[in-house]
């Protein structure tokens, strides 16, 4: 029964992500992207990666999407200001993307991994297990990522600050 849940949610993810790139209005794109991330959260729950599901929900749908919406509202973008490419470029882009997908799936056909996904350890994606991993072998990358976030914060503030002399 729950394999059918997977196929249903996978179909929804594909439909919503297609809507993201084909929606004319950027605001609609952001809203469809939030729906796509919601379906991804469901995928994580189905894989029993509960920590990632919560982080995806809070960081992606909470923080990053609010940032996108905020910038879109700040710049006041809508259908009229939306730049559009010529149909030729669109067709060529879709064909190039289609070729990429055919290559990916064709190369997958050459391999023969199709064993069903079995969750051997039910506690694999829980906070306890991942925390032990994160503060054990991955301690240095974890601390470095805090440095990365600090650098990004300083950079964002520096970039978006208006130049006093020019203004």
């Amino acid at each position: 029964m729950s394999t059918q849940v997977f196929y249903f949610v996978a179909t929804l993810s594909i439909i919503f992500s297609l809507m993201v790139i084909f929606a004319k209005n950027p605001i609609h794109s952001v809203l469809y992207l939030i729906l796509t991330f919601f379906t991804f959260t469901v995928h994580y729950v189905l894989l029993n990666a509960q920590f990632l599901a919560v982080v995806n929900f809070i960081v992606y749908m909470g923080a990053i999407m609010v940032l996108f919406l905020f910038v879109l509202m700040l710049l006041n973008l809508n259908n009229e200001t939306e730049p559009s490419k010529s149909p030729l470029i669109k067709i060529v882009g879709v064909i190039a993307g289609g070729c990429l997908m055919v290559t990916l799936i064709g190369s997958l056909k050459a391999t023969t991994i199709s064993s069903p996904l079995i969750l051997k350890n039910p506690g694999l994606g829980l906070v306890e297990n991942l925390g032990k991993e994160l503060f054990g072998p991955f301690l240095l990358p974890f601390e470095l990522s805090s440095l990365l976030l600090l650098a990004a914060m300083v950079g964002a503030v520096l970039l978006s600050k208006r130049d006093e002399v020019e203004a």
């Binding site: 997977f6 997908m101 064993s115």
Partner: protein
């Protein structure tokens, strides 16, 4: 919850790879066909998420928590990337009054 996840055994790993490939391709097509810088950014987010899902599926498949730790790092990286990228886009809009990326082709020279 436990009941649901033990029943998940039926989905083959291949189908997760197909799903990720399709979503990644949709992201690539978005980057190639749109001119709005923010929509291009969202397509990049789609690609990152496709990779995240694939890493999680492989992590469950090989019973190794490292894959999920990588996903966590990718999420931290995506947050930093979005903060800096949107700041750059706001800056571009302030200087050119447009977020059409074709305006930026002057950067070539």
């Amino acid at each position: 919850m436990e009941n649901l996840t033990t029943q998940m055994a039926g989905v083959p790993l291949n189908h997760y790879i197909y799903l990720s490939a399709i979503i990644f391709t949709i992201g690539v097509i978005g980057v190639l066909t749109r001119r709005n810088a923010i929509v291009i950014f969202m397509s990049v987010e789609l690609m990152l998420n496709a990779v995240n899902l694939l890493l999680t599926a492989f992590s469950v498949h090989s019973n190794d928590p490292s894959g999920q730790v990588f996903v966590f790092f990718i999420m931290a990286l995506a947050a930093a990337e979005v903060a800096v990228g949107l700041a750059i886009i706001v800056m571009v809009y302030r200087n050119t009054k447009s977020i059409d990326i074709n305006v930026l082709n002057r950067l070539k020279w």
